[in-house]
């Protein structure tokens, strides 16, 4: 089937437009963007841990997904350095059409920072824009049950075992969260992902990449986080 590039182009344009919109402030506002508001609230506001429910649901409902948690530092309710750690897994067994099996599982991490874009920084709501660098190193097994060569009729075995791969990518994040009760927050984030370097050995393309998702489907991703201030 043919590719549908106009959709990805449209989404890319939408994402870029939104980011430009968010970044479209005056020159003085740009200086403000990087400054810390001066008030009586202390600079260090503590840590928060969060768990992603979307990856968990994907793991339960499909043949790939990830378990992911994050640790975030709250600097004056404005800047939030963050480390995200996860374990991605795919187990696609005996595809009914192609009879291919694809297996991989590996940890991954992302590091980055979020900025609270709201003017009222210390309220119960937060709106974030952020950037992440992510990396994973993983091994892939692709196997197909033996099949007959269409011309010569010999049995053909197809197996790529333990192919060592690695992936570096960047994510632009746009998210929001709200205080539900005490230290508990719930939040969404939308991610625009861009691969920056990769090594996939004998495979031209790997299918599911731990933490990144299925390459080629879409560059957008998302999280739904349960967040606890600690």
């Amino acid at each position: 089937m043919m590719k549908i590039p106009f959709i990805s182009i449209s989404i890319r344009r939408l994402a870029i437009s939104l980011l430009l919109l968010l970044a479209s402030a005056s020159a003085s506002a740009q200086f403000k963007f990087f400054s810390i508001q001066k008030d009586s609230i202390p600079f260090f506001r503590g840590f928060a841990v969060s768990f992603d429910m979307v990856g968990l649901a994907m793991m339960e409902l499909s043949d790939y997904g990830q378990y992911e948690g994050a640790l975030r530092i709250n600097l004056h309710d404005e800047w939030f350095p963050i480390v995200e750690l996860g374990y991605g897994k795919a187990s696609h067994t005996d595809d009914p059409a192609t009879h291919l099996e694809y297996k991989t599982s590996a940890p991954y991490f992302r590091v980055g920072i979020d900025k609270n874009l709201l003017k009222q920084k210390h309220g119960p709501y937060r709106l974030y824009a952020g950037l992440r660098y992510a990396f994973t190193s993983y091994k892939v097994d692709v196997v197909r049950e033996p099949f007959k060569d269409p011309v010569w009729q010999w049995d053909t075995s197809f197996a790529i075992m333990g192919e060592q791969c690695s992936y570096h990518w960047l994510e632009i994040a746009l998210g929001a969260d709200a205080t539900i009760w005490g230290p508990l927050h719930l939040g969404w984030s939308v991610r625009y992902k861009r691969r920056i370097a990769h090594k996939e050995g004998a495979l031209d393309n790997t299918w599911y990449v731990p933490g990144f998702g299925v390459y080629g489907d879409t560059r957008l991703g998302g999280t739904f986080n349960v967040i606890i201030d600690i």
Binding site: M1, M2, K3, I4, I7, I11, L14, A15, L18, H92, D95, A97, T98, H99, L100, Y102, L118, K119, Q120, G123, Y125, L127, V142, R144, F147, D149, P150, V151, W152, Q153, W154, T156, S157, F158, A159, I160, L174, G175, A176, W188, V190, A202, L203, D204, N205, W207, V214, G216, D217, T218, L220, G221, G222
Partner: protein, 184 residues
């Protein structure tokens, strides 16, 4: 604009983005982004001694022996006037392609040149390494190949020169120049 109103507006944006993303995810899940041409074949170009393309005047058929011992004629594919044609006998063409086995160290082919007077057969042995090729779980398993050696008898073929070793989906790469003997 107050923060609350701004937040509300941006939450709408996020909801819209998620809706778009979900739609895209659904579309992409049902889309199969596989190569349109997923057959792997070896391209031959017939040349005269000066190196110019030569259309053969004898008919050419290519036979191989299957696992069960049966000799079969291979499909010969040609590309002319923007159209692909599958033939079992080639005549009046200067280029063609032949299938290659998925996973076998050596293919043995019998090139049969026939005119009104006689049939001349050459045996061609093509050695290769087979490389499993994976695009996606939605795309059929395929093999690419690295041609490592070729040898042949010299009844009608003067020489068969390996010019590109790598056999992939690329149908524009010529792998062999076939120089027929003159006077056959």
């Amino acid at each position: 604009m107050s923060d609350k109103i701004k937040l509300k507006g941006l939450l709408y944006v996020i909801v819209i983005l998620f809706t778009v993303h979900s739609s895209l995810f659904t579309i992409s899940c049902s889309s199969i982004d596989c190569p349109i041409r997923n057959t792997v074949s070896v391209q031959y170009e017939i040349r005269d001694k000066s190196g110019a393309a030569l259309s053969i005047t004898d008919s050419l058929s290519v036979v191989t022996t299957r696992l069960d011992g049966k000799n079969i004629e291979l499909d010969i594919a040609t590309h002319l006037d923007g159209k692909d044609e599958i033939l079992n006998k080639l005549i009046g063409r200067s280029s063609f392609s032949l299938p290659i086995s998925n996973s076998h160290p050596e293919d043995i082919l019998f090139f049969c040149f026939k005119n009104s007077e006689k049939t001349v057969v050459d045996t061609v042995w093509i050695k290769k390494d087979d490389i499993p090729h994976f695009e996606s779980v939605d795309c059929a398993a395929a093999f690419f190949h690295e041609l490592t050696d070729v040898r042949h008898t010299h009844n009608a073929i003067d020489s068969l020169v390996l010019v590109n070793r790598s056999v992939t989906y690329d149908e524009n790469t010529v792998h062999f120049y076939l120089y027929p003997k003159t006077g056959n």
